[in-house]
Amino acid sequence: GALRGAIQKSGSRLLLLLVVSNLLLCQGVVSTPVCPNGAGNCQVSLRDLFDRAVMVSHYIHNLSSEMFNEFDKRYAQGKGFITMALNSCHTSSLPTPEDKEQAQQTHHEVLMSLILGLLRSWNDPLYHLVTEVRGMKGAPDAILSRAIEIEEENKRLLEGMEMIFGQVLPGAKETEPYPVWSGLPSLQTNDEDARYSAFYNLLHCLRRDSSKIDTYLKLLNCRIIYNNNC
């Protein structure tokens, strides 16, 4: 009786110890906490903000690539959609650097504004992408789930970027106009080929813009946090 009770107690304590040690060991996976509202009195280090932002942008680009490949494999084989995708991105009006030299010569304020513009301009298309993919007949879950994830992560990255901007360039205006997407009608057209082509374009542009954001952030991270010594 008493012995059993004692053993049970020790057993539950040991279990608790194991659980706690597991949590501690897995600590590396747990992301660092970020201030919820970006309030001024909540100070997260810039290094942590950048680490988090780089992680999220890397993740978004991975998801976008996978989503594009999945769609290409399923719906775009032999259709020649790529020819129609040239010059189809709504964000092409943004003056983004196109190679390393140009990027290195761009001021970090400009780079951050570009990143914010890109993120904001994708809020709306991502929302509609999720809605329309859901309505697409036979839409594989691989595409839909990734679309949903990307939409969510995009919002998160936008918040983080706004915080970074606030810390790196306090007081600077960041309400730059951003390109507006107007491709919704082509996503909803009845012509199946035209609709699939519109989806292809959107996913192609998403993959590209997420690569841009990812690259610019990594550049900024090495430049600002590590002093060009990554």
């Binding site: 010059n87 590209r208 990812d214 690259t215």
Partner: protein, 615 residues
Amino acid sequence: MKENAASRVVFILLLFLNASLLNGQSPPGKPKLIKCRSPGKETFTCWWEPGEDGGLPTNYTLTYHKEGETLIHECPDYITGGPNSCYFSKKHTSIWKMYVITVNAINQMGINSSDPLYVDVTYIVEPEPPANLTLELKHPEDRKPYLWIKWFPPTLTDVKSGWFMIQYEIRLKPETATDWETHFAAKQTQLKIFSLYPGQKYIVQVRCKPDHGYWSEWSPESSIQIPNDFPVKDTTVWIFVAVLSAVICLIMVWAVAFKGYSMVTCILPPVPGPKIKGFDIHLLEKGKSEELLRALESQDFPPTSDCEDLLMEFIEVDDSEDQQLMPRPSKEHMEQGMKPVRLDADSDSGRGSCDSPSLLSEKCDEPQAHPSKFHTPEGPEKLENPETNLTCLQAPQSTNREGKLPYFHANGPKSSTWPFPQPPSLYNPRYSYHNIADMCELALGMAGTTATLLDQTDQHALKPSKTIEAGGEGKAAKQRESEGCSSKPDQDTAWPLPQDKTPLISAKPLEYVEIHKVSQDGVLALFPKQNEKVGASETSKEYSKVSRVTDSNILVLLPDPQVQNLTLLEEPAKKAPPALPNPAEAALAVSPTTPGNCRLQLGWGLGPAGFMHLQ
């Protein structure tokens, strides 16, 4: 005229064409672009595969235009990338822009263009392998020695500025091994390997991958010889073993704590010991039955009157025309009989032998399949299975002649311990024997020979309180027991086993027990007989008390006056069935020599008093 001239020209042209075709010359085949690759996201190279050359010298040109531009450019560098390649330098490389590239094959006969290839440099990144792979053995003091592997980032990659992010992977193996040991090294450019086999030559390779792109090729092999005296202390195995055993111990402790005593008894059942008052275990071990019995005899035998009464109430022997011995406990006195006979305190396994139906291997002549009903109306709570099939069956078969009469005496080679693991719950002090089977068990238990049989049949025999639920199960048990008991199959024919026993679950307190057979190992198999199955041909025999114990270890029971006589039998192997010294007496003896009879010979000669005193 003009028409003639035109047709003539056409005709000549065709002739030329035909002539050239006859010569094997034709426009070139269609070339094909294989792939384009960028080593550092700053330049890229494209390769193509030429088609048929059409028999004429063919030139290849590569033309491209960028997304958003209309101007068509030609490849700036055909040489740097090797044959059939085009190298785009930094000046000509744009990221996040689609290139539309085409290769054209030109010869005298014509031009053939490849299908256009759409390339975005962002997605064709494949770095060079890492450079300058170095290996070094380090022996720091007071620490484990290790192999230190170092390398440099591949050429053409700008990692410092953050434009290019790389992850590395190392693989190594002893020269003679076949499988590589792979280690992922993330962004670091060095790695320490601790687990090495001394005296081996190790081969090491490294490769890398951009954050978004393809893995590089493996670097050229580097090798290093580990000296023979390289100390390798592999404590990880021991740590793992220690942790594992600690975990197992914890689990066992928990199991014990939670499951409690029942699990312990499941794993380590208590070994019962004989506890018969006045019974000397040592005598039993020596295997001298006579001394044993005399010792018992001297104490409480003949039984006292009240014990006799109880015994009389207890035992009812049926002396049918087949001279079957069917002692049965009387119904009315079951409960009463149970009280004084305090055999329960004993955790001995004497019961098992009686319980085992294995003793009966053939069907009885007069099958009196009386499934035993061990009832303990006042029995311990644990005895919740009144369905126990008492496996002792009567075996009235003519084949009983052969076979050895089981003797309940110390038979020799086998141990005299109590082999039956019994749950202690069975031995509730309130449990008392209410049938011959129990008594048989006790008797058997006390005798050395029983041990031998019990060894074989204990699993099934000594569980009177357990349900032998289905007849099939009971049969199986019995068959097993019979196998166990029948070490001499040819001799075991004496004790047939009724095939269609039916396990009875009855709440009736009354049990009639029939002694069906005793295996050659001296196990008394009793089979309680169902009341309703008492055939008309059978007459129940009531034995009121034990009159005496003969020298030949025969328990002589006094039948009721109105009951028929029962043949008194003796050891079959050695003696002829003896005449009853007292016709009115019946001895519980089993003799295979008596056809159609199941005789039980209690070789220990205990009287009822012995029963009562069995502890």
